[in-house]
Symmetry: D2
Subunit: 342 residues, 4 copies
Amino acid sequence: MKRIGIVGGTGYTGAELIRLALTHGEFEVACVTSRGDAGTPVTKVWPSFAGFLDLDFTEPDPGRLAECDLVFFATPNGTAMTAAPELLARGVRIIDLSADFRLKSIPSWEHWYGMKHASPALVAEAVYGLPELNREAITGARLVANPGCYPTATTLGLIPLLEAGIVEPRTLIADAKSGVSGAGRKASLAHLYGEVAENFHAYAVDGHRHYPEIVQTLNAVSAEATDITFVPHLLPMFRGIHVTLYARLRERVADLQALYGARYDGHPFVRIEEANSHPDTRAVYGTNLCRISVHQVNENQLVVLSVIDNLTKGAAGQAVQNANLMFGFPETQGLTAPPMAP
Amino acid sequence: MKRIGIVGGTGYTGAELIRLALTHGEFEVACVTSRGDAGTPVTKVWPSFAGFLDLDFTEPDPGRLAECDLVFFATPNGTAMTAAPELLARGVRIIDLSADFRLKSIPSWEHWYGMKHASPALVAEAVYGLPELNREAITGARLVANPGCYPTATTLGLIPLLEAGIVEPRTLIADAKSGVSGAGRKASLAHLYGEVAENFHAYAVDGHRHYPEIVQTLNAVSAEATDITFVPHLLPMFRGIHVTLYARLRERVADLQALYGARYDGHPFVRIEEANSHPDTRAVYGTNLCRISVHQVNENQLVVLSVIDNLTKGAAGQAVQNANLMFGFPETQGLTAPPMAP
Amino acid sequence: MKRIGIVGGTGYTGAELIRLALTHGEFEVACVTSRGDAGTPVTKVWPSFAGFLDLDFTEPDPGRLAECDLVFFATPNGTAMTAAPELLARGVRIIDLSADFRLKSIPSWEHWYGMKHASPALVAEAVYGLPELNREAITGARLVANPGCYPTATTLGLIPLLEAGIVEPRTLIADAKSGVSGAGRKASLAHLYGEVAENFHAYAVDGHRHYPEIVQTLNAVSAEATDITFVPHLLPMFRGIHVTLYARLRERVADLQALYGARYDGHPFVRIEEANSHPDTRAVYGTNLCRISVHQVNENQLVVLSVIDNLTKGAAGQAVQNANLMFGFPETQGLTAPPMAP
Amino acid sequence: MKRIGIVGGTGYTGAELIRLALTHGEFEVACVTSRGDAGTPVTKVWPSFAGFLDLDFTEPDPGRLAECDLVFFATPNGTAMTAAPELLARGVRIIDLSADFRLKSIPSWEHWYGMKHASPALVAEAVYGLPELNREAITGARLVANPGCYPTATTLGLIPLLEAGIVEPRTLIADAKSGVSGAGRKASLAHLYGEVAENFHAYAVDGHRHYPEIVQTLNAVSAEATDITFVPHLLPMFRGIHVTLYARLRERVADLQALYGARYDGHPFVRIEEANSHPDTRAVYGTNLCRISVHQVNENQLVVLSVIDNLTKGAAGQAVQNANLMFGFPETQGLTAPPMAP
């Protein structure tokens, strides 16, 4: 059993980490922190855990966190980069679910996130926690930057094409749709039931923080520089991301199914669905799966559908997958339950 | 490992049985039947199980079913009562999730269900599968009648009061609200998204089949004859039942919390919440829990809130709980995951 | 054309007033106030009015409001009672959609609303704006207290029974369910999409501010003192209230349909539906209707279903109905569009 | 007053026609047909119209329909093309909301709709009822083919670009998302609440019937042949279409806002929103508006957002707009109410 800590336990990602930890089998939830709710039971904020978890929120006290084997940061951007050095120095491993360590370019990070980076030295060390790309590096890492939700779904859908060099790399399009849980749990007018339900719209068409993260990964797997038009939309639902990807083929490909199948062979959480199928978000609900289907709609045009649960493969589930790799547990430990569906 | 069969695998209850069986640990899903879809993969109907279950639907063939240790009937009313005798004769245990064996009075059953009963002799043998009432009898049963969803939530909320004889037993009221999954998965105009979403109404105010089932159980635990006004409503959501119960106290009660706590002591799936709390359906989502809170709003008036997931404690989860008892597994085997919440 | 002002234009009730005013035909929206958004276009907060209303929010300046013929207060409790005296003195009529003038008992109001009343003298003058009870008084009123949403649906369903004296008046039950718009538009965790959707629960079982308002009206029409158990619940939807009323008959009634029909004859917004029907909230969506159906489920037990749109008949629509009466317009002016359904 | 008939009154489009006709002012609903429900009140199927419309469904009898000034066909494909000749011969005007007269190429129509066309001669006469393109021709038409919902939103968003010849015409992309009402009201498993809510997926990626209709219109306004990749998705909501359009600029454009504004000047239902805005479907709910916003995300890439209510501008509202033109009423008659929002 490993002792884990969760910094930031009042958000949706924190709750999903708790949910997954409770059935993991090798994790003991040693502490869950919340500045605002320290001293009150976790079940005051999350009554659904009543009967499953008997723990009070604590202050994010480094001394207590240092008693953990691994600490997950499910915090707003800017928190983990400040707290990480001390914890690492005390021998604690860290998986940061915020954006603090995702971008290798400090200037780019500071531009997109609007603050000065507190630990630029650690950025170089941090491993980008997309196991389907960096499994080996994650295994030995002290500090993992857990990918964003949109970048996970988008890059998993495009990596096989860019690695093979068969699509135009600078006119990629990702039309992305996310459930509202991606916006986190904060009191905001924009995410009230009355604003979200029976409604749909795009947002941030002119620039979203996940854009540089996506391009960083695409460039890492492409021989040529890439660019992508990334348009996120808000779905009237809670969990789930569906990215519809558009790419233009440069050359005939004998068998796209085979290309994708081979790329993700041995990666248990990426599932290439039948040709011409339409995976729905329900089919990944609460799981760490990424379901992908590939459509060639005419001689040059590819449409790739990539579907994840943003709270699981897009956040807490991928974090557990990374933790499994870091501890040497089976990669799927605690992540094998089928979707809660219907 | 026990081999289980599921007769009627294309409904929501069948799917929930599959979902629970996949993580149970002691169940092997040996066959899932569907007359209409025999020969096609289960994942054609339930794509969310793709990657989790590799099985084709079969005809409900008695020979094949006889190879199972236990068969769950997740079928329309009228099927199990016809198929049960042969399977029992071949030594197969049965849990019937339909209504065929729930009512001990054959005339009442035939009145409410509008058909002739095919196996009246088995009705007497069948054990009503509410473990919080009949745990011992279930343990030795060959044939279990799994309770209805509304009756489960309603009777669990009232049993302590009626056993104690402290409320007027003939003016009980159950104002019940259910998610639409309770109506099953059939092509019907009434349950289209466009009819259910952003809408709410009562139905069957003048008589619902769960009324006689509720009264049968209430009478079984009450020294005096009982009656209840039962009004069901359709919620614009998928899973969950919330029953608001109204009862009039006959006498002062020192401690209602203690009364309820003592009644369900040792019953792992009934959880008495804090006094004056308001359990929500999300807090039981996908679990076998019944969460109950008790409110005394004035000298005579009690309000009891009783909440379950209609597909789990109200159907498939309770069936697994019953199967655990019948096989001698721990009562909670395969039913310990926390709710999928938020 | 009458010049109307709306104080508090950033809430759902304010928006509904704007929507209704835009098609009223005799109303000119002269000003819409918002302290927080003064100076910005109304369409910044309500983009759906872009192309329909070209107006900036203003401060709630008494001078400007005094140029209106009538001012609607769609404000939090405590605002109208402070602003009313000056406006009335300047000859402006007022309809207060908050609770400031609803309760005739000042001590009761101060108990339930937790503040000192600023204009107790006006409370006596204010007319409770339920036209089906007080049409004549409203016609001549300067100051109308627009009823609460739950009280509107609840009392309209019970008035015929209590006026006729045919039910036990002290064991009434109102099991009420409301869409989330009843909670208003404020940044609160409890009303995020992620908390409301696919979820259901009761709240305030041990005391809700609409309880004294309901009893005040019931007492006004009953020869004997009344009491009611009032249990509100939150529905996973936006608009609509459904109250399920339980009353015990004292005597045989020849024809309940006739009793209700006669009571509301000449009241265009109350519609008695067919016996044993189940009106749904969709059938009143966006309208000023109250649809009622009456069920006698056994010798003594009545179940009455009463359905309104909480933003319309439960707030802004009823306010327009009251304004029509005050100005001598036809009572249904601007309120004749059918529901937005499906 | 004009007498109108609605053939096919049990679908969502038929109901929307009734709703709009009830407040139109110049329309009398003379008959509403339904083969299955002839003889029963319209309010049996649509209880929300109880109190607003007192009419029984009739058989689609040509004699009775011939007494109308105009007949709307809100029927499955294949019905209008059979019935049209007789009605036209009797002097009745027709607006067909199905697809029977939309495609000018008979072979293409027969390919996509899988049946033989019954009235090829009338196809040539029929005017494609997109008033923003064909207003003059509609004014004099006997037979109008009302456009599909996706084609309306898609082509209105692209017409200014193609008329100006400033984008590559063969690599257009329309990523379209529709509420479930677009699928009509029929008893189908795929559109049950339990399948649609909290779920999202693409469909028909490899070919949708609206594709040839879109290309036909785009070709009509473009100097060069066009092509488009059209990917529809199903939203977990009832009303609304949001199309996200991607086009590649060939040349610098001084002012896209001006280009769009000029194109739709004088067209009351197309509203060009502020640059870089994100119109939501709620802002057109129940209205005949198309709201468009234009984004240039880099030197070559345009993103255009086009939003309609699929039942109104995408079907019944556009039909009323066409009827207004045919009868010489103001184009906006009966279509001026603001959206039902929030």
